[in-house]
């Protein structure tokens, strides 16, 4: 459907600060997200330092922020560090980068829309997110320390019983605020895809990226409100003296029930892990096809698999609570549904593997990151089987094995997927090329050290190490894991250092990168074939009419006729009698010439 063309604002404040342009908002989310990624990463380094060299002064960071203890981490500080690490990475780093930045940037461009359905709501979404970020920073500055009840914020520990002070309250409110922002974004994404697809852009011609973003938006809109509810009730417990989640000696027989928070939390929390991975699945599905120069294998199968996972994700949350005294029959039901997820997951996975099989792989940076994502997600998915099964989970629950598992699936896979997207769309976002060699160093460092860090966590957990221990070596039976933990920490520091290469590359490319062509990767989606790099304010002067899906590659007849190995989503292609009808489209680039 045709959207109005809004006049482009001229004043700085309307153009770059309170902008309603989805491309600018995407960049705002990207930058804020990258800042928080750096902050969350620093916190991770501090945890790793504590496990490598317990109770010794942390270099640099310790001198800056922990001067009162001579730079060493104390147990209360440690609890704050891992709590804030988890919350920041999930809600203030991955979510804004993956969904805020790439959702905003890709959806209108890839479906052929001039902007989001509700541009102003989009702007409010970012500034709500910004407000929540301020609350996060406030939490660090509060007198009794930042939030410390773990990212899951389980009461009663997260009520005044276990975590007095404003740090935890700020975080409860920040979670609520960022939830509101996410819901606003989600509404926009859903409606934009439903209403503003270009003519001819049918549901099964959508790039997989859009499917991923759209399904994520649906999960966000459905389940983030549940988290919002839980955060509100927790805030009431903390501020208004209610007893929703406080039980036991503190309130006597009329108390509330801490388990109810866990239910609400995981009703949201399990969809959340798919919220963070569905966009990556979509992006990787597209990029694997683009850089294998081969159609996405069984596109519809991938779409249905993603839909199936989306539906199942809503009904498996109980597997996070097997050890809470859940009724055996209920546990069994959750176990069955959880294991059932492996069917669509394997379909998706085999489709990826088949996409690259017999392709003509171009191992450029986005492709490398996409392959890396497939690898770590495979490793993470396979380790999840033991956690989804009740009897094996008895031993592994709450160990570092869980930590390794969800870091591989949710953190490492989202991380590599986000960077795949960033390297891929950077030329379109900024109109500049990124340095491919630095990108390749960044990739190899990231994927190798990610494997070592989270693999090390898996081994430690398998050998019995609990998660969230200030000093694991208090326990005799895992004391011998100290060298393992230290080596894992070294890998983590190396992983951190590798990211500096990205920072250099990113800044350098924005400031003085080579100017990017319109379609440097020679791919077939609208943002590359019908938009300048960077796109004009309203994206498309004339909204193109789409005639095919996003993955038309490697057709020998096309190669013969056009001299290149792909058809974009708009050109008439082989069936057209009159070749002049492709006038007004960018010149087909001579790919066969290479």
């Amino acid at each position: 459907m045709e959207q109005h063309i809004h006049p482009e604002p001229k004043a700085f404040i309307w153009k770059y600060v309170f902008s309603i342009d989805h491309k600018v908002i995407a960049k705002q989310f990207l930058w804020t997200g990258l800042m928080f990624l750096a902050l969350g990463g620093t916190l991770a380094m501090m945890i790793r330092w504590q496990w490598a060299y317990p109770k010794t002064a942390v270099p640099v960071v310790g001198a800056l922020f922990l001067s009162h203890t001579g730079g060493a981490i104390t147990p209360p500080t440690y609890t704050s560090i891992f709590t804030m690490h988890g919350l920041i990475m999930i809600f203030w780093a991955i979510t804004p980068i993956l969904i805020g930045a790439f959702g905003n940037f890709c959806i209108p461009l890839m479906i052929g829309a001039r902007d989001m359905a509700f541009p102003k709501l989009n702007m409010y979404s970012y500034w709500m997110f910004f407000a929540s970020s301020v609350l996060v920073i406030l939490s660090f500055t509060s007198q009794l320390g930042a939030a410390s009840a773990g990212w899951t914020t389980y009461p009663p520990l997260s009520t005044n019983v276990g975590a007095p002070g404003w740090g935890q309250t700020y975080m409860a409110l920040a979670i609520f605020a960022t939830g509101v922002s996410t819901i606003m974004g989600g509404i926009n994404y859903i409606v934009t895809v439903i209403r503003y697809r270009a003519p001819g852009m049918t549901w099964f011609r959508l790039p997989l990226t859009i499917w991923g973003m759209w399904l994520t938006a649906i999960l966000n809109v459905l389940f983030v409100p549940v988290l919002g509810s839980a955060a509100l009730l927790l805030s009431l417990d903390r501020l208004a003296g209610t007893h929703f989640f406080v039980a036991g000696a503190a309130v006597g027989i009329q108390g509330g029930d801490p388990m109810l928070f866990q239910h609400l939390f995981w009703i949201f929390g399990h969809p959340e892990v798919y919220i963070l991975i569905l966009p990556v699945w979509g992006i990787v599905g597209d990029i694997l096809s683009f850089f294998s120069r081969k159609p996405a294998f069984w596109y519809k199968g991938s779409v249905f698999a993603m839909i199936a996972v989306t539906v199942l994700s809503a009904v498996v949350y109980g597997h996070h609570m097997y050890q809470t005294g859940m009724a055996p029959l209920l546990g069994l039901g959750f176990e069955m549904l959880t294991l059932a997820i492996s069917v669509p997951a394997v379909v998706l996975f085999v489709n990826w593997l088949n996409t690259i099989w017999k392709g003509s792989l171009r191992l450029e940076v986005p492709m490398l990151f996409a392959l890396g994502m497939v690898f770590v997600f495979g490793a993470g998915g396979l380790t999840g089987l033991l956690l989804g099964t009740i009897s094996t989970d008895i031993y592994l629950h709450d160990t570092m094995y869980v930590v390794g598992h969800f870091h591989l699936t949710m953190a490492a896979a989202s991380f590599l997927g986000s960077f795949s997207a960033l390297y891929f769309w950077f030329p379109k976002m900024y109109g500049k090329q990124m340095d491919q060699n630095l990108g390749k160093v960044h990739f190899w460092g990231s994927v190798v050290f990610i494997t070592l860090v989270f693999g090390g966590q898996l081994v430690a957990g398998y050998s019995g190490q609990h998660r969230r221990l200030f000093e694991p070596y208090q326990y005799t039976y895992i004391r011998h894991l100290a060298p393992l933990n230290r080596w894992t920490s070294f890998a983590a520091f190396a992983l951190g250092a590798t990211q500096l290469i990205f920072v250099v590359n990113f800044i350098k490319s924005i400031l003085m990168g080579k100017k990017a062509e319109q379609n440097p990767w020679h791919v077939s989606t609208l943002e590359w074939t019908h938009c300048a790099s960077p796109p004009i304010y309203h994206n498309f002067d004339i909204v193109p009419t789409v005639v095919r899906g996003a993955h038309e590659y490697a057709d020998p007849a096309v190669k013969k006729k056009f001299g290149r190995d792909y058809l974009d989503q708009v050109e008439p292609g082989l069936s057209a009698v009159d070749e002049d009808s492709s006038a007004g489209m960018p010149e087909p680039e001579a790919i066969g010439a290479e």
Partner: protein, 282 residues
Amino acid sequence: MTARRLLRAVTGLAMGAGALLTAPFAFAAAPQPGSGYGLPVDVSAEGHRIDWLIGVTNVLTGILFVLMLGWILYAAIGHNEKRHVAAHDHGDSRKSIFLVLGIAGSIFFVVDGNLFFNSTTDLEEVFHNFDKVEKDPATIRVEINAHQWAWDTRSAGPDGKFNTKDDIVSLNDIKIPVDTPVIFEVASTDVLHAFNLPNFRAKVDAVPGQINRFWTQGKTVGEYEIGCAQHCGTNHYKMKGVITVLSKEDYARWAKEASENSARLFDENDKDAHWGWDWKGN
């Protein structure tokens, strides 16, 4: 059941790899430091069921992992743009779809099916089978009350009733007889904790206002560690205890002495000390 035994025998070899990593356990008067990477030594009568299932699954997922990695590497090198022209294949032919669904189905039935079948039978016949254990006259019953950051423990004295003068009470220290089932009922007074016996492959959350339970049975005399697996505040990392498996005679001697000690130290007015509850049972 024979099919299952057969499967166990076949995969026994694979399990050996894991067992090799775990050094033999020497008996001593204090919890022994572990060694090597792998599951800590199993001293429970039924923990081998969990270990077996973990081991089998590791082998199966290990195979899948190697296949996946090999596939990616082969495609990246062998089907590189320098060496290979891409096939024009949308993967939506009947054959392709059957291939994908076939792989997904086989993995589901073999790997997930094995997990589900064995986990469910183990839980039903053993880990959740409290009827059998409750009926066993030899069964020992222990109540655990978790609080920041210690485990209060209590077992009924000779009168068989909880919260009476002859209860055996202690802190962070549990003694159980070897080859005898023990049922634990676990609660908490303040925040969430998780009572974890890694060497027994047993774990349950301690939740305020709720009594959770599990049972286990020691097979090897010795001292093992109790851990808290759920983040419970600043000193979570120090919330540990010791569980000692004694020979039956040692246990009987100790229980008699401990009960007498408790009775002697019993203070009617110390309300906080009488946290025990009537055994919940089935």
